[in-house]
């Protein structure tokens, strides 16, 4: 007869898997001190395209090592907001900004701040995967490093590229075709390549503007898993139309709405679980339950 002492507990394989990281207990809210020291603090941010005000008096905390989602109906200024966080907004004709955006205590719109350096520290991944079409997989990841001379010798460059591809969960799929054109990859792989490209120059914050809307469901889930993994090291801000995606991946969720004059305003910000189970603002409740409009 088997004795109690004969039984050997065998932990499930995932616990023994060295790659598996312990679950992180990161939840909102994020304190202003934390966002100030290690993340981003957005204060009274407004942005215009010519005379049209796209966003008005937005206040937001982007916490380190968290995923912050920005949701809201079409045209409420989500993409404008996110493009203000790495000074991409000013690339648009007649665009201007008022207010402050602090990255680890520095106002990125301060006098003398180089926007190119800001964009290195605050990387961006766009809706449509956009690898450089004439470059190989390797050269795509290396592009930013070469441009900024961020490596000492070729072997160092190769190491950084491999590291970027591994962090983007793409290395195993492309290690045998690093010299192939990036456009030969699938949509989901191209998007992860763009993430690797952003990671290679060691940003502090990664912005993602609807990174999965052009991808199939399987590729989408891979990107979402990657986001969760990356949030262990980076602050990630994601704009998404997909509320279920925001609910799945984000620690904090910010809700934007269009005012009567069509300027976007922040109406709610908090822990994702709170926003999706017990929102404070009726506009949030109406939007996420589909009663909006």
């Amino acid at each position: 007869m088997a004795m109690m002492t004969d039984f050997q507990f065998k932990p499930p394989a995932t616990v023994l898997d060295e790659r598996a990281e312990p679950a992180r207990d990161i939840t909102c809210p994020v304190s202003e001190a934390e966002a100030w020291e290690e993340g981003m603090v957005i204060r009274n941010l407004s942005a215009w395209y010519g005379s049209f005000q796209a966003i008005r008096d937005v206040n937001l905390l982007v916490g380190p090592k968290r995923v912050t989602a920005v949701i809201g109906p079409s045209g409420c200024g989500k993409s404008t907001l996110i493009r203000c966080l790495n000074r991409m907004h000013e690339v648009a004709p007649k665009a201007r900004v008022a207010g402050q955006v602090y990255l680890r205590t520095e106002d990125i719109y301060g006098r003398g701040v180089d926007p190119v350096l800001v964009r290195r520290r605050v990387g961006m991944v766009f809706q449509k995967p956009n690898p450089f079409p004439t470059m190989s997989v390797f050269d795509n990841v290396a592009a930013g490093l070469r441009l900024n001379s961020l490596f000492s010798r070729r072997s160092h460059l190769a190491d950084i590229v491999e590291q970027g591809l591994r962090r983007a969960a793409l290395w195993d799929e492309v290690k045998d075709k690093l010299n192939r054109p990036a456009t030969e990859l699938s949509g989901g792989q191209q998007q992860r390549l763009c993430i690797a490209r952003a990671l290679a120059i060691e940003p502090e914050v990664i912005l993602m503007d609807e990174p999965c809307s052009a991808l199939d469901p399987v590729a989408t889930l891979k990107i979402e898993d990657l986001m969760r993994d990356l949030s262990a090291s980076y602050a990630i801000v994601i704009v998404t139309h997909n509320m279920q995606q925001a609910a799945r991946v984000a620690d904090c969720t910010a809700v934007m709405m269009m005012a009567e004059d069509r300027a976007g305003e922040m109406v709610e910000f908090g822990a994702t679980s709170d926003v999706f189970t017990n929102p404070r603002d009726k506009r949030t409740e109406d939007y996420i339950t589909g009663r909006f409009g």
Binding site: A247, T277, N278, P279, T289, G290, R291, F292
Partner: protein, 221 residues
């Protein structure tokens, strides 16, 4: 307004739950009527009818799960469905307790009555009133009414203590009463558990309204 299908289905599951609450309240009252009148026929009918309550629970549960899977409800809608799912279980268990009382009526059929029933019907009345108020609180989304409904649980607990002491006295004085007294103690226990289940319902209503899970009333007993 968008999401008419969700609205319709949400209204549907809530309606089903209200029908079930009505069936359960009826079962509680009928069980005590059967006890007072020693009506075995009524008791047997009640036992058979419990199957309908059980079926309704599973039907409603299936509809709720389907709603979650197909409509991805959030915020207030999600809390409503979760509340209905939990309240469904509590109602079905109340039905089981009423059925338990009916089974005891059948067991006591050939025994002479031990004493006039005063406290047991009183417990049943309070439990029924609590249930009615809890359901009204659900319909009106009234957290205050839910809280005041569950505060009456202490009255039921106090009556249970009283019944217990009285029946104990009977048993100590005359061992021939032990079997009847024990069965009546089970009736009291079933009624006390019904009231406890109603307090769960009240907590769910408060959660539905406020979005906060909290223990509303720590019993003195």
């Amino acid at each position: 307004m968008a999401r008419t299908l969700l609205e319709r289905n949400l209204a549907g599951v809530q309606e089903e739950m209200l029908v079930m609450a009505d069936m359960v309240e009826g079962a509680i009252q009928r069980s005590i009527t059967a006890l007072k009148n020693r009506d075995v026929e009524l008791a047997r009918q009640l036992i058979a009818d419990d199957a309908r309550i059980n079926r309704k629970r599973y039907d409603t549960e299936e509809r709720c799960i389907e709603l979650i899977a197909t409509q991805q409800p959030l915020a207030g809608d999600l809390r409503t469905i979760v509340a209905v799912l939990h309240m469904n279980v509590d109602l079905e268990r109340m039905g089981d307790h009423a059925e338990g009382i009916a089974k005891i009526v059948v067991m006591l059929a050939d025994e002479p009555p031990l004493k006039p029933y005063v406290d047991l019907p009183r417990m049943a009345d309070i439990a029924s009133e609590m249930l009615r108020d809890a359901i009204e609180a659900f319909k009106r989304r009234d957290a205050d009414l839910a809280r005041s409904a569950m505060n009456r649980d202490d009255e039921v607990d106090a009556l249970y203590d009283q019944v217990y002491r009285e029946l104990l006295t009977y048993m100590l004085n005359d061992p021939r009463t032990i079997e009847r007294a024990t069965r009546l103690l089970w009736v009291a226990h079933n009624l006390e558990r019904i009231a406890d289940r109603v307090t769960n319902v009240c907590e769910r209503v408060a959660y539905l309204v406020t979005g906060k899970m909290e223990e509303l009333n720590v019993s003195k007993y």
